[in-house]
C-alpha cells in the first residue's frame, strides 16, 4: 500500500474513530491532572480497569450499573433528534420509579402480568413528567433546558416528600424508622436474573435496554412518526410546510423521551433496589447527555457509550481504594470526554483527522425564544 493510499484510507475511515480518540485524550489529560496534583495515575487507572471490566464480577456490576445510563442516554438522544435538549432524565427517572413502586406495592399479580405492568407504569410516569416541559415548550415557547432542570429539582423534592411524609402516610414504609425509603415491591414484580458464580445478580434490565436501543433505531429509520419527529427537529419550517404539526412533535418527542427515562427508573426499582430511597440515583440528567453526545445520538453507539459510563462509575471505587483518589476524578474525566467530543476539532487536529464538513454538526442551539 502506497503512502497516499494509507492517507486516503485514513481520511475515509478515521472520522469513526473520533469518539474513541476523544475518550483516549480525556484519559491522558486525566492522568496528567492526577499526576500534577500528586496522585499515582498508573495505580489509579489499573484500579479503574480492574474495577470495571477486568474481572467477571466487575463486568457484571458494570452492566448492572450501565443499564439506566443506556436507557436514559436513549431518552436524551431521542429528544436530540427532535431538536430538543432533554436535561430532565433524572426527574423523569424518579417519576417512573415512583409509579413502578406504586404498582409493585399495592398489587398482587402473577409475574407475567406484573412485570410488564410495572414497566408500563414507569414509562407512563416518566412520559407524564416530561410532557410538562414538552407542553410548555410547544404552547408557550419556554425553553426546555431550564424547565427540565427545574423539573429535576421539583421531582427530587416531591420524592423526598412522598417518601418521608408520615401524616398523611404516602409512599413511605411505615416499618422503616429512618423514613428514607418506600416499602419493598412484591416478589412477583422483580425482574428475574442470573447469578454467575460469585457475582451480583445480572437482571433482565440489560436485555430490556438492548431491545429499546434497537426499538429506537427502528423507530427513527422505519416509521412515519419517527421521520416526522426528526424533520420537525432539523427543519421546523420545512416540517410545517409539509403539514407536520411542530408543537405536536415537540410534545410527543418529550413524552417518548420521558417514557424511556421512566422505564430506566422502573428497571432500577424492579431489578436492583426493589424500593425507592431518598438517595436513589443522582446526576443521571447530565450523565445521560454525556452518553448521548458520546454516541452522537446513534442508538447502537449509546449501548457502548453507556457501558463505558457505567464502567467508569463502577471502577471508580477500586480506583479510590488503590490510588487514594477521590471518586470525583471520574467526573472530571467524564467532563473531559464530553468536551473532546463536543469540540472534536481539537481531536481531529491532534490526530490529523480531516475536519468535519459544514452542516455536519450534531445540533445547533437556538435562543430562548424557541425556534
Amino acid at each position: 500500500m502506497s503512502r497516499s493510499a494509507i492517507v486516503a484510507f485514513w481520511e475515509r475511515y478515521s472520522p469513526a474513530l473520533v469518539p474513541v480518540l476523544a475518550v483516549f485524550t480525556a484519559l491522558v489529560v486525566g492522568a496528567l491532572l492526577i499526576g500534577l496534583t500528586g496522585g499515582d495515575w498508573q495505580a489509579a487507572y489499573i484500579g479503574l480497569w480492574q474495577g470495571s471490566f477486568g474481572t467477571p464480577r466487575a463486568l457484571v456490576d458494570t452492566i448492572i450499573r450501565s443499564t439506566p445510563y443506556i436507557i436514559c442516554g436513549l431518552a436524551v438522544a431521542l429528544a436530540f433528534k427532535a431538536g430538543l435538549f432533554n436535561i430532565g432524565a433524572e426527574g423523569q427517572l424518579y417519576a417512573g420509579a415512583l409509579c413502578a413502586v406504586v404498582i409493585g406495592t399495592t398489587m398482587q399479580l402473577p409475574p407475567i402480568f406484573h412485570i410488564p405492568l410495572g414497566i408500563i407504569a414507569g414509562a407512563l410516569g416518566g412520559a407524564a413528567w416530561a410532557s410538562i416541559a414538552g407542553i410548555l415548550k410547544a404552547r408557550t415557547g419556554a425553553h426546555e433546558v431550564i424547565n427540565t432542570i427545574m423539573l429535576n429539582y421539583i421531582a427530587l423534592r416531591l420524592t423526598d416528600w412522598l417518601i418521608k411524609s408520615r401524616q398523611p402516610l404516602l409512599l413511605g414504609d411505615p416499618a422503616d424508622t429512618s423514613g428514607s425509603r418506600t416499602p419493598h415491591i412484591a416478589e412477583t414484580m422483580r425482574l428475574p436474573g442470573v447469578s454467575l458464580g460469585n457475582t451480583n445478580t445480572l437482571h433482565l434490565g440489560i436485555l430490556l435496554a438492548v431491545i429499546l436501543v434497537f426499538g429506537v433505531a427502528w423507530f427513527f429509520k422505519r416509521t412515519t412518526l419517527g421521520f416526522e419527529l426528526r424533520m420537525a427537529g432539523t427543519n421546523p419550517n420545512a416540517a410545517r410546510y409539509a403539514g407536520i404539526s411542530v408543537p405536536r412533535s415537540i410534545i410527543l418527542a418529550m413524552a417518548f423521551a420521558g417514557g424511556l427515562a421512566g422505564i430506566a427508573g422502573a428497571g432500577e426499582v424492579m431489578g436492583v433496589r426493589y424500593e425507592v430511597s431518598t438517595n436513589f440515583i443522582s446526576g443521571v440528567g447530565f450523565d445521560a447527555i454525556a452518553v448521548a453526545l458520546l454516541a452522537r445520538g446513534n442508538p447502537v453507539g449509546i449501548l457502548f457509550a453507556g457501558l463505558l459510563w457505567g464502567g467508569l462509575l463502577t471502577g471508580a471505587r477500586l480506583m479510590q481504594v488503590r490510588a487514594g483518589l477521590s471518586i470525583d476524578v471520574i467526573k472530571i474525566i467524564q467532563a473531559l470526554i464530553i468536551m473532546f467530543i463536543a469540540a472534536d476539532q481539537i481531536v481531529r487536529f491532534l490526530y490529523r483527522i480531516p475536519q468535519r464538513k459544514a452542516g455536519d454538526e450534531t445540533m445547533v442551539s437556538k435562543g430562548w425564544g424557541g425556534g
Binding site: 427545574m150 463536543a342 442551539s365
Partner: protein
C-alpha cells in the same frame, strides 16, 4: 414558536386564573367577616417598629374581589387596557395576600422579609448579569451554574489556605472567569454548540470542585467566618428602607452597584453599543470594524467574573463553608431571571428579587408553620417554590421576551 391553541391566548388564561382565584378567596372568607372576634394578621415594619393590624378575612375578601373583577374586566375586549392595568395590580397584590394568609393570627416582619429576599436574590441577580453580558454578545451561557460553583469552591480554598477572605473573593472571580474562558474557547474558537459547551462547564465544575474539596480540605473547611457586615452611615438610619438597602455585606452591595453599572455600560457607552451590535448582528458589526471574536471573548470573561462573584456569595458571604453542589440550581434560576427581565439589568434584578422573595417566603412559612387543608405545608413544598416560580414565570413571559438575535449562533469570521 407562536402557534396558539385555538384562540385561547395567554392573557385569557391569566385572566381566568385570577377570576377563579378571586372567587375562591371570596367564597372561603366571606363568612368569616362577621365573626365577633375576627382573626387579624399583624404586619410588622421592623423590630419595634410600626405595626399594621389587618383583619385577615376582610382583607382577603377584598383582594379576592379585586382579582375577580380584574379577571372579568380583562375578558371584555373594549376596555382591554384597563384590564391589563388591573391584572398587573392584581399580580402585585399576590404578595400581601400571601403574607396575610400565611400569618393569620400571628405576626410577620415585613422589613426583615424584604431584606432577606434581597440578600437571597444576590447570587441570582449576579448570575443574571452574567447571562446578560454573555447573551448580549451572542453567546448562550448555560454554564453559569458551573462557574458559580467553581467560584464558590476556589474562593473558599484560597481563603482556607491564606486566611485572607478578600483574596478568596478575588480568586472566586478569577476562577469563574477561567471557566468562562474555557466556555468561550469551545464556543467561539471551536464553534461548539453553546448549550453543549455550557453543559461541559457544568459537569466539569461538579467534578473539579468535588475533587478539590475531598482531596484538599476534607476536614479543615468548616465553621469559618464570613465577610463582615457594613452599614452605610446616615443612609442606614432611614426607617424601613435603611435596614433593607443600606445594611449588608459587600457582595450584596457590589450586586446593586453592578446592576446600575451594567445598565449604564450597556445603554449609554460606545462599548455597550458595540457589545449589543455583536449580539444582534455580528456580520454588520464586523463590517463597521468591530472585532467580533475579541468582543465575545471579553464579555464571556466578564460574564464568568460575575458568576464567580455570585459563587463567592455562597461560600464566603453566607455559609463560611464549601459543600458539594451548594449553588443548588441558582445559575439556572438566574437565566430565568434574565429572560424575565428581557435581557435588561434592572429587569433581571426584578426577576432575581422575585425568586429571592419566593425563597425567603419558603423559610418564613416554615417558621410560621403555615397550614393548608388542616395539615402543615410540607417543608419540601416550600423548598421547591423557587423552581416552580421559575417555570411559571418562564411560561407566562417568554412569548413576549425576545433575546439577542445572534445568541446561540457561532460567528463564521
Amino acid at each position: 414558536m407562536t402557534e396558539r391553541r385555538r384562540g385561547v391566548t395567554r392573557r385569557q388564561v391569566i385572566a381566568g386564573f385570577f377570576a377563579l382565584l378571586g372567587l375562591l378567596l371570596i367564597v372561603n372568607y366571606v363568612a368569616e367577616i362577621d365573626l365577633a372576634d375576627p382573626v387579624t394578621t399583624r404586619l410588622l415594619f421592623g423590630v419595634g417598629g410600626f405595626v399594621l393590624p389587618t383583619p385577615t378575612a376582610l382583607t382577603l375578601t377584598l383582594i379576592g374581589g379585586f382579582w375577580f373583577v380584574a379577571g372579568v374586566v380583562s375578558f371584555v375586549p373594549r376596555i382591554a387596557s384597563i384590564g391589563t392595568a388591573m391584572l398587573w395590580a392584581g399580580a402585585l397584590l399576590i404578595i400581601p395576600a400571601l403574607l396575610i394568609w400565611a400569618a393569620a393570627g400571628k405576626q410577620i416582619n415585613v422589613v426583615s422579609l424584604a431584606s432577606v429576599s434581597l440578600r437571597l436574590s444576590t447570587p441570582i441577580a449576579l448570575g443574571a448579569l452574567a447571562g446578560i453580558y454573555a447573551e448580549r454578545a451572542g453567546i448562550i451561557n448555560i454554564g453559569i451554574e458551573g462557574m458559580m460553583l467553581t467560584g464558590a469552591a476556589f474562593g473558599f480554598a484560597v481563603f482556607a489556605f491564606t486566611d485572607n477572605i478578600w483574596l478568596g473573593v478575588v480568586m472566586a472571580v478569577v476562577s469563574g472567569s477561567l471557566m468562562a474562558l474555557l466556555h468561550g474557547t469551545l464556543s467561539i474558537t471551536f464553534k461548539t454548540d453553546q448549550i453543549v459547551s455550557g453543559t461541559v462547564i457544568n459537569i466539569l465544575a461538579i467534578g473539579v470542585t468535588g475533587y478539590l474539596r475531598r482531596q484538599f480540605f476534607v476536614d479543615g473547611g468548616g465553621g469559618r467566618v464570613t465577610l463582615p457586615q457594613f452599614s452605610l452611615p446616615l443612609l442606614s438610619d432611614i426607617p424601613v428602607l435603611g435596614p433593607i438597602l443600606f445594611v449588608g455585606k459587600p457582595i450584596f452591595f457590589a450586586m446593586i452597584l453592578l446592576v446600575i453599572f451594567t445598565h449604564i455600560l450597556l445603554f449609554t457607552t460606545r462599548y455597550g453599543l458595540r457589545l449589543r451590535a455583536v449580539g444582534e448582528n455580528p456580520k454588520a458589526a464586523a463590517t463597521v470594524g468591530i472585532n467580533v471574536t475579541r468582543t465575545r471573548y471579553l464579555n464571556i470573561i466578564i460574564s464568568g467574573a460575575m458568576a464567580g462573584l455570585a459563587g463567592a456569595w455562597f461560600s464566603l458571604e453566607t455559609v463560611g463553608r464549601f459543600d458539594d453542589g451548594m449553588t443548588a440550581g441558582k445559575g439556572f434560576i438566574a437565566l430565568a431571571a434574565m429572560i424575565f427581565g428581557k435581557w435588561m439589568p434592572f429587569g433581571a434584578f426584578g426577576g432575581a428579587a422575585l425568586f429571592g422573595f419566593s425563597e425567603a417566603l419558603g423559610s418564613n412559612f416554615q417558621i410560621l408553620q403555615v397550614q393548608a387543608f388542616g395539615l402543615p405545608v410540607p417543608v419540601q413544598f416550600l423548598q421547591l417554590l423557587p423552581y416552580l416560580v421559575t417555570m411559571v414565570v418562564l411560561a407566562g413571559l417568554i412569548g413576549r421576551a425576545v433575546g439577542p438575535a445572534a445568541a446561540g449562533k457561532p460567528y463564521q469570521g
